[in-house]
């Protein structure tokens, strides 16, 4: 509609105001905080110091935590891609009625609190949990296996929490797939497996890649699931920041950890997007 040039700015002004106050300002404030210093005796000292960053980037303790976090995220993203991609394709090939029902079943848990889903795994994985009872019941093991407070437990629970995102991303790219191209491939003499490998997978690759990125970044900043299943012994970055803030009261250190996490996440997201765009720019405009 033909109108004045200021109209769009006026329309977005309220949202912009709220964002400036509750997103931009806090992020700036916490960045400044991360350059302050802290001791038990004096509390938070204003000033500009890189000491917190130096410690995060050089201390072995923090190295282990960051390595554990990003290793965990990588593993979770890989497993989610490995099981989520075929599942999305199976859904894609179902009759419409079954498909919408199962989509509801698989995507629905995204709306159930992460806490509730993690709790379910705590019940399943515990010493007297369902999995151990079942394994002992069929005689596979004699004594219960410890899943709680292990990396295995955290990975299983995180895959469960995040795999619907991967299914969703692949499903979205499968929906854009012209069903006739598979038929065309078959009519040209390709086997079902060849059609899958040469025709379907290349076209849904952007979906697989973006799904993996989503799962990776969410796993890297996950808090509830690692805290409950992994516990203190398997600290991840988010828990470390939490402890610095709410237990040690060392806010500047917590802020520096958060800043490093944010920077790492942004670098990975933007770098990955750039790479994917370069690779698929021609085929997928």
């Amino acid at each position: 509609m033909a109108e004045r040039k200021t109209t769009p700015y006026l329309l977005s002004a309220p949202a912009l105001l709220v964002y400036s106050a509750f997103l931009a300002a806090p992020l700036i404030a916490v960045t400044i905080l991360s350059f302050n210093t802290f001791t038990m005796a004096t509390g938070i000292q204003p000033g500009f110091s890189l000491a917190n960053y130096a410690e995060v980037l050089t201390d072995d303790y923090f190295h282990r935590i960051f390595l554990r976090t990003f290793g965990l995220a990588l593993l979770v993203a890989a497993i989610a891609a490995l099981i989520g991609t075929p599942e999305a394709y199976i859904l894609h090939r179902m009759a419409p009625a079954w498909r919408s029902a199962f989509l509801l079943v698989i995507l629905g848990p995204l709306l159930v609190s992460v806490l509730v889903r993690t709790l379910g795994w705590a019940v399943l994985l515990g010493r007297n949990g369902l999995i151990n009872s079942a394994l002992i019941g069929i005689g596979a093991i004699e004594r219960p296996i410890e899943f709680m407070y292990t990396m295995t437990g955290v990975v299983v629970a995180l895959v469960h929490v995040l795999v619907p995102f991967h299914v969703l991303a692949v499903w979205a790219s499968l929906r854009r797939l012209d069903p006739a191209v598979e038929a065309a491939g078959l009519s040209l003499g390709a086997s079902q497996a060849t059609v899958l490998r040469r025709i379907v997978v290349p076209q849904i690759m952007p979906g697989i890649l973006s799904g993996s990125l989503i799962v990776f970044t969410l796993a890297a900043s996950a808090f509830a699931t690692p805290s409950i299943i992994g516990g203190r012994r398997l600290k991840v970055v988010a828990m470390t920041a939490y402890d610095e803030f709410l237990n040690s009261q060392n806010w500047p250190m917590g802020a520096a950890i958060a800043a490093v996490l944010l920077a790492a996440t942004l670098v990975i997201v933007l770098g990955y997007n750039r790479w994917v765009e370069r690779r698929y720019a021609q085929a997928f405009q």
Binding site: A15, I83, V105, G120, A122, F165
Partner: protein
């Protein structure tokens, strides 16, 4: 020309669905226990733990979550409608940057938002207030309401608005009588999604909520770090059932897969 899934595919599918549903079903099962500890298999069925919720401090936490989520989703929607109109309808300098800024909370880990808001709200004296908590949630849920509003607006045939215009309607009348009724299902879907997101949010809220404004997820988190018992399982079961009801409502409004498409994308 639907090709059928083979037996291996269906077996995989069954395992996958089992994997997805197992923890949810288990939580529901154990919450009906008669024992005072978690046990499987359940020996007897009772509602004692559901009755126990009534007297617990999960109830005030539930109401806190209800207030915060309702307010945050509503404010986010109210901010999203004009912002979506601006970016969907006008080409102006800074448009792309503005859209990216409005969607940027999706890229910021919630733990980072949590520490940032904890620091900021205590600086400006809004820590442990509902006001601060609600606006923190507005930031988290607004990308969802904005995306849904944008998607429905761009899906709208401009000619319909032009038709109203040529028939003599003013801009205000066009919006009220034509645009708004047509984008309402998308807006309602966006509001529900935002409500659920806010209601379930834990990681950021852990930092921002005070004992007096503590939401249900924070209360549950603090509880399970001490012990996991049938009481918290019963609370979880109640939450699962409420979510199922909301989910069915959302599927009616907008289609769940289309709605969630905005949830994951970053």
């Amino acid at each position: 020309m639907m090709t059928r899934n083979g037996p291996w595919a269906l077996a995989f599918h069954a395992l996958f669905v089992g994997f997805i549903l197992a923890p949810l079903i288990v939580v529901c099962l154990v919450s009906f226990t008669t024992e005072s500890y978690l046990s499987l298999p359940v020996t007897g069925v009772s509602l004692r733990w559901f009755r126990a919720i009534a007297g617990s401090d999960f109830i005030p936490a539930f109401y806190n979550s209800l207030y915060v989520a309702t307010a945050a989703a509503t404010i986010a929607l109210a901010l999203s409608i004009p912002a979506a109109l601006a970016t969907a309808r006008w080409r102006f300098p800074g448009r792309d940057a503005l859209t990216a800024f409005f969607l940027s909370p999706l890229m910021v880990p919630h733990i980072v938002l949590g520490v940032a808001l904890l620091k900021f709200l205590s600086d400006i004296g809004l820590s442990s207030t509902y006001f601060g908590l609600i606006f923190a949630h507005v930031i988290i849920v607004m990308p969802f309401t904005l995306r849904l509003a944008l998607a429905t607006l761009t899906g709208l045939d401009r000619a319909v608005e032009w038709a109203a215009w040529s028939l003599g309607a003013s801009h205000g009348t066009i919006f009220r009588r034509v645009t708004l009724p047509l984008i309402l299902p998308g807006l309602a879907g966006g509001w529900l999604l935002a409500f659920i997101q806010s209601f379930d949010e834990l990681t950021m809220t852990v930092f921002v909520a005070a004992p007096s404004t503590m939401t249900l997820p924070v209360r549950m988190f603090n509880y399970v770090t001490d012990n996991i018992d049938p009481l918290v399982a019963a609370v979880s079961t109640a939450l699962i059932f409420v979510t199922i009801l909301l989910m069915i409502a959302m599927d009616r409004f907008y289609g769940l897969d289309r709605l969630l498409a905005g949830k994951g994308a970053r």
